[in-house]
């Protein structure tokens, strides 16, 4: 390459900045056993959603919309009205008429021209004897290497890590004899060895060699990372965790260096030097393509917004007509606090209906504000039980009578289990295993296969109970006394007071207060944690609910609370519960500790819960293909429990599919509405919120979590190939818990499987940006937006719609950049 081929370098845009820019755009993905929802656009929320959609399309061909034909179909069916379209047009300040918009929507746009990589140039001249595209070869090589670098679970003989991700790659690639390089192996090995030894120097070296102008580097790096999106997201997760712990992690930079180095290796191996000038010109077209796409997307955004308006219209209308059905003066028999999860909405409504509002329900983040990790007895495996945005401060263990004996027994059982898996998994013993005990797997095969047909539905085994005897498991409970670091009484009182304040539950306690976490039941499901409680780090809410109940039942804590002005009557008792979202069974914990005086209360509550479970199951039956059992509660319950235990079931439940709104208001505002399990509900009364501290908390934490969930479902639906994990029947778990491949290999897959979104006939999730409805004064909300960049970005850049509910139930929509408009007028044509 001659010096003139390299364009003059601008001093202001350093390569390191471009690397930082590209790497910080990558959103993390959590491991499968903690599979919480992530907004895959999270790295871009500092920019307007429209420009990001165009940018991603130009960078990597990312799709942000459902096909226009589908929106038009919705218009034809009346699900989107002309009024909705008109409102969308007006909000956008568009000069188009509704008919003009519909006419334009008839044309499906041409697919975007994504950034050309050197790999693409190589693929344009693929030889006849090269069956696979170079793009696939490169991604496969990187993916396999990265997997073996991070895996410490599936493989028992693992890649030594001491040279780092990039360093081991460079060393191993030089010894690789399997790659179909054109110039031969020795030549290739020489070129690999000639690469600089560290990731940053290699990046600098390669971009200089390729002659990429500094101003094009960030986009180029972004396009490269998009080809290994899954592993980039995994590296981003490592970085996220390191930063939560106060450290840092640069694996994503090493991954970029590897992907970039491949570009140079292909140039050298294929002799593509003379094609580089033309390729660089293509790189320069990126900005033009982004501009072009922005204008192409105008129609799509109008249709998208119209669909969102169509949903929000009903909610706005309903909130306004909220009649005070609940007699506020009548004290409830039971207060039940549920997670904000959309699946709670159905059960809450059913429970209120079944009890004729003798049960008053509230919504709160399902980890109940406890910053804990859970350490199962006899183990050292701490599992975070809080949202991914936070780091656990306390590791809580379990206790029971003879705890040390139980712990030792479990350690023994687990050690035996480990020996077994070694016997089954080691190269030198697996043959003997098969010929001595392999036949026993036939028993397992039959038992599992028949599990769904046997009379009593076998519940799938739970990992957290592994190695415990049933009678020990039932006696164990998470305990504040088994916590590290030790939790002093003062700290316990502070925790309890803080949680009760955020819940808005500081007076008028009922005789029973139910704290309901949630979890799911499914068998043989790599993404099972994705159906559990996201606020509990992808675990069930059991530990948190029981810990909070234990805290609030502690007389010493109550004394401390009283001193802080929170009087809990002696007749009030807190009961922890777990809502199984797959079967809609509710399990109560530690009820044997309730005094006899509350036996009747408990009995009544159990009857209401049973009735509510029946009603909720009946409501869900049709969506699970069990519509014909709707009127037969027992048969339906049985069918759902069997389904949950079925190892072949790829759709145990619909999770949070359909989620579309988040209402932050007292329950009375929504009590009269059937929200169809599509709305997150957080109880909040601004009148009792001192200094709006709780409002600030809700908008900065639960709202962000709901945004993550909402956009995970959105992205997995509109572009499952890039932001979803594809077909579940092909899933192949990588590294024990790291993630899945779809099939044999390829990149690590992130996001949701098709089966979580689509029933084989139609999509079960309607991709709509979240409508957040907050009942609070405008000034208070504006103030939080003003002070918190993250909230400001989400609201002002169009990642969600923010509404304010005023005292008479009227909604006002927040205008981009500030100001509120009356929603009913804004939505009117």
């Amino acid at each position: 390459m001659t010096a003139t081929a390299v364009p003059p370098r601008r001093p202001d845009a350093s390569t390191a900045d471009a690397v930082r820019e590209a790497c910080r755009r990558v959103a993390p993905t959590w491991p499968l056993d903690r599979f919480i929802a992530v907004n895959p656009y999270w790295g871009y929320v500092d920019r307007d959603v429209r420009s990001v959609a165009a940018e991603l399309a130009a960078l990597a061909g990312v799709d942000t919309f459902v096909p226009r034909t589908r929106r038009l179909e919705q218009v034809r069916r009346g699900e989107i009205t002309r009024e909705d379209l008109g409102a969308a047009l007006r909000t956008a300040g568009s000069a188009l008429s509704v008919d003009e918009l519909l006419a334009k929507a008839e044309d499906e746009p041409a697919p975007p021209r994504r950034t050309t990589l050197v790999t693409d140039v190589a693929d344009r001249s693929r030889l006849r004897r090269e069956p696979q595209s170079w793009g696939d070869v490169v991604v496969h090589q990187i993916s396999q290497h990265t997997a073996s670098y991070f895996d410490r679970t599936q493989s028992s003989w693992s890649l030594p890590r001491e040279f780092g991700l990039f360093g081991t790659w460079r060393r191993l690639l030089a010894t690789d004899r399997g790659l179909p390089m054109r110039a031969g192996r020795a030549d290739f090995a020489r070129r690999v060895t000639a690469l600089p030894e560290t990731a940053p120097t290699c990046i600098e070296f390669v971009v200089e060699k390729l002659g990429v102008r500094p101003e094009h580097r960030a986009a180029y790096f972004g396009a490269l990372l998009a080809t290994v999106r899954g592993w980039a997201a995994w590296c981003a997760y490592r970085r996220w965790q390191a930063e939560l712990a106060g450290g840092s992690d640069d694996h994503v930079v090493e991954l970029l260096a590897i992907r970039l180095a491949w570009e140079l290796l292909l140039v050298e191996d294929h002799g593509l030097l003379d094609r580089l000038p033309a390729w660089r010109r293509e790189l320069e077209e990126h900005a033009d393509e982004v501009r072009r796409l922005r204008s192409v997307h105008d129609v799509d955004w109008l249709l998208q917004h119209a669909a969102e308006i169509a949903f929000q219209r009903g909610l706005v209308h309903g909130l306004r007509s909220s009649a005070d059905r609940v007699d506020a003066a009548r004290a409830p028999d039971v207060q039940a606090v549920f997670c904000i999860d959309v699946r709670s909405e159905r059960l809450r409504r059913a429970l209120e209906d079944a009890s004729l509002d003798a049960v008053r329900t509230r919504g709160f983040a399902g980890f109940f504000g406890l910053p804990v990790a859970h350490v199962p007895i006899g183990t050292e495996a701490a599992r975070p039980q809080l949202p991914g945005l936070l780091a656990a401060a306390i590791a809580v263990g379990e206790t029971c009578e003879h705890a040390s004996h139980v712990a030792e027994r479990r350690r023994d059982a687990l050690a035996r289990g480990r020996l077994w898996s070694r016997f089954k998994g080691s190269a030198s013993s697996v043959f003997t295993f098969v010929e001595s005990l392999g036949l026993l797997d036939g028993v397992a095969l039959l038992r599992t296969s028949l599990a769904t047909s046997l009379g009593r539905a076998a519940r799938p085994a739970r990992a957290d109970l592994a190695g415990l005897r049933a009678q020990d498991a039932s006696r164990l409970r998470p305990s504040w006394d088994a916590a590290v670091p030790e939790v002093t009484m003062q700290r316990r009182v502070e925790l309890a007071a803080g949680v009760l304040r955020s819940m808005g539950l500081v007076r008028d306690f009922a005789r029973l207060v139910l704290l309901v976490g949630h979890g799911s039941t499914s068998a043989n499901n790599p993404h099972a944690a994705g159906l559990d409680c996201g606020a509990c780090g992808g675990g069930t809410g059991e530990v948190n609910a029981r810990l909070l109940a234990a805290l609030l039942e502690d007389p010493a804590v109550r004394t401390g609370l009283a001193a802080r002005g929170v009087e809990i009557p002696a007749t009030t008792h807190f009961v922890a519960a777990l809502h199984d979202t797959t079967t809609d069974d509710v399990r109560l914990f530690d009820t044997d500790e309730l005094p006899a005086s509350h036996a009747d209360d408990l009995r009544r509550l159990e009857a209401w819960l049973a009735a509510a479970g029946d009603a909720t199951r009946a409501e869900r039956a049709a969506s699970l293909g069990l519509g014909e059992l709707r009127a037969r509660p027992n048969a339906l319950a049985g069918a759902l429990r069997r389904r949950a235990a079925d190892w072949a079931q790829v759709r145990p439940e619909w999770g949070l599919a359909g989620n579309a709104a988040f209402v932050v208001a007292p329950r009375a505002r929504t009590r009269h509405m059937d929200l169809g399990g599509r709305v997150f509900l957080h109880d909040y009364d601004w009148r009792t919120d001192d200094g709006f501290a709780t409002l600030e908390l809700i908008l900065t934490a639960p709202m962000v979590v709901t945004n993550w969930i909402n956009l995970q479902y959105y992205a997995s639906t509109v572009d499952n190939r890039r932001f979803g994990s594809g077909n579940k029947v092909l899933h192949n778990v990588v590294g024990g818990n790291i993630g899945v491949f779809e099939g044999n290999g390829g990149d690590l897959r992130i996001g949701l499987a098709l089966q979580s979104l689509h029933d084989g006939r139609e999509w079960r999730h309607e991709p709509l940006r979240l409508g957040v409805f907050v009942e609070a004064p405008a000034a208070a909300i504006d103030d939080v937006i003003e002070r918190h960049e993250v909230v400001r970005r989400l609201v002002d850049n169009g990642w969600l719609h923010l509404f304010r509910i005023d005292d008479d139930g009227a909604s006002h929509v927040r205008c981009p950049g500030g100001g509120w408009r009356e929603a009913e007028r804004a939505l009117r044509d």
Binding site: Q154, S155, R422, A466, R721, V733, G746
Partner: protein, 529 residues
């Protein structure tokens, strides 16, 4: 076929042939295009249920009245029940698993078709029918492997498999012709009796048996033609389970059926032991470096098939049969339950870490185990000293149970410390007890004294497993040193055998595979899905 059902042999044959007949009929009729998917599955499940009943019936008849037809004739009803059972489990599983997938009619047709072929291979006594059924099974399976036609890797793997399988077909058909021209019969039972009666096989027959061995090695994905087996995870999980539990082991079954002939053909024995043994050891090691569960299972199958072929070469047909059956059940379960990997990894993370043991202690434990197993088996009357093949197996078993013997050194709890050796003891007893019982039942005890070839092959096997153990011990203690890293690179790359074979394949028969293929329903064609 005589239809006098009072004749137990006729009843047995009728019931056995009813299994492929029912399945074939189901394959033709169940997926009628006019039927709705639910009805297709109802018909498919009824078919496999009926087939299972017939298979169990034939097994009961066989137990009630054992017939002749070669030493390993009793293997037939056992394997028939196995195939039917696997088919029954798979049909039930797939019915739920594939809900909403396009192409379920096609899936049912080829699933039942492959099962019909596999069960006919087992049920028939006619060598030509066996060969044709074997080919048909492979073709039916081919259709399942490319169930998602647009997935590029599925096409590539299927392409390689097609080549290997057709080569195997040529071998098998040639072998059938040679055997028929030599012995004048196509009956496997008669062939076995003729072979047992004769002192030495005619050269043509030896060539035929060697060709069968080659075909088995090709069809059971032995190195270096294993690549297709590893790369067929591009089809739904039950297809993998079918392949690994119901189809790939047919090669082993054929070897067991032709046991008398194989034992009389040194070339075939050497081929089976050397290729099978090396595959078992190498693929076994490669398995431990895999990073995804299904690919690890596939490499493990490759190794297991090698071990089974090796045992056939050693004349241990009863152990090969046990291996075939147990491996099928184990692998079917492992594939179908592969989604539970995450949960198992959580349990693994909760389990106490196994302490690293020194090389010396590992070697000492292994030596002690070897000594103990030899002394114990000898005292128990197992002819380990007279039969080199059994001695080789004793080495394998003794090295296998060493993880259980390090309990005291592991510092595990009181219970684990004592249960380890107890488990090891139980495993050894069970192993040789199963061998004893099966050998007596199948009548596969060797009728001749070991030849020098037998001894050499047994020594080879023992040596290979000692080497495997040594490599593992070395890696466990010196994993980060340079030689170990280099070894890792080679083993991780599967010795790069498949890539070489692929390049060769493509030179012989090029294929062009479109990129960016995917099974994901395109949102753009949403309404048609």
């Amino acid at each position: 076929m005589p239809h006098d059902l009072s004749d137990p042999a006729a009843l047995r044959a009728l019931l056995a042939h009813a299994v492929p007949a029912v399945l074939a009929l189901g394959a033709l009729l169940a997926p009628l295009p006019a039927l709705r998917v639910e009805a297709v599955w109802r018909a498919a499940c009824a078919t496999v249920r009926l087939a299972l009943v017939a298979a169990v019936g034939s097994a009961v008849a066989a137990v009630a009245e054992p017939g002749g037809g070669g030493a390993a004739a009793s293997a037939r009803p056992v394997v028939l029940v196995l195939v039917a059972l696997v088919g029954w489990v798979l049909a039930r599983y797939s019915r739920t698993y594939l809900e909403g997938e396009p192409g379920q009619h096609r899936f049912v047709r080829w699933l039942l078709g492959a099962l019909a072929g596999a069960s006919l291979v087992v049920a028939t006594d006619d060598l030509l029918v066996l060969a044709l059924a074997w080919i048909a099974t492979s073709l039916a399976l081919q259709n399942l492997l490319v169930f998602y036609r647009d997935r590029p890797n599925a096409q590539m793997a299927a392409h390689k498999k097609f080549l290997a399988s057709r080569l195997a077909d040529v071998c098998v058909l040639t072998a059938v012709a040679l055997l028929y021209s030599t012995f004048g019969t196509r009956s496997v039972g008669e062939l076995a009796e003729l072979a047992a009666a004769s002192h030495a096989l005619a050269p043509a027959a030896q060539v035929a048996v060697t060709l069968v061995a080659v075909a088995v090695l090709l069809k059971s994905a032995q190195l270096p033609v294993h690549g297709w087996l590893i790369q067929v995870m591009e089809a739904p999980t039950p297809v993998s389970a079918l392949l690994h539990a119901g189809v790939i082991n047919l090669g082993g079954f054929v070897l067991i059926r032709l046991g008398e002939l194989v034992s009389a053909t040194p070339a075939a024995q050497v081929l089976l032991v050397v290729v099978g043994g090396l595959t078992a050891v190498i693929a076994g090691l490669v398995t431990t470096t895999r990073i995804s569960v299904k690919v690890a299972l596939a490499w493990s199958t490759c190794a297991q098939m090698g071990f089974m072929a090796m045992q056939c070469g050693l004349g241990l047909y009863e152990m090969a049969l046990l291996h075939l059956v147990a491996h099928s059940l184990y692998k079917a379960h492992a594939f179908l339950a592969a989604g539970g990997t995450v949960q198992r990894s959580v349990v693994g993370a909760m389990s106490p870490q196994a302490p690293t043991r020194s090389t010396t202690s590992r070697v000492l434990v292994a030596l002690a185990s070897l000594a103990a197993v030899f002394v114990a088996t000898h005292l128990a009357g197992v002819p380990v000293l007279e039969r080199p093949a059994l001695a080789a197996m004793s080495v394998v078993v003794a090295l296998a149970v060493t993880p259980f013997l390090g309990g005291a050194a592991d510092g595990a709890g009181r219970l684990a410390r004592w249960s380890g050796p107890a488990i090891a003891f139980a495993v050894v007893v069970l192993y040789f007890a199963l061998h004893h019982v099966l050998e007596a039942w199948l009548g596969t005890a060797p009728s001749r004294v070991p030849t020098p070839t037998d001894t050499a092959l047994a020594a080879f096997v023992a040596g290979a497993f000692v080497l495997l153990f040594a490599v593992q011990t070395y890696v466990a203690s010196r994993g980060s040193e340079r030689p170990a890293r280099l070894l890792y690179a080679w083993v991780y790359g599967g010795l790069f055998l498949d890539e070489r074979f692929t390049r060769l394949t493509l030179r012989v028969w090029p294929v062009r595979i479109s990129s960016e293929g995917s099974s994901i329903p395109n949102l753009r064609h949403d309404t048609t899905r």
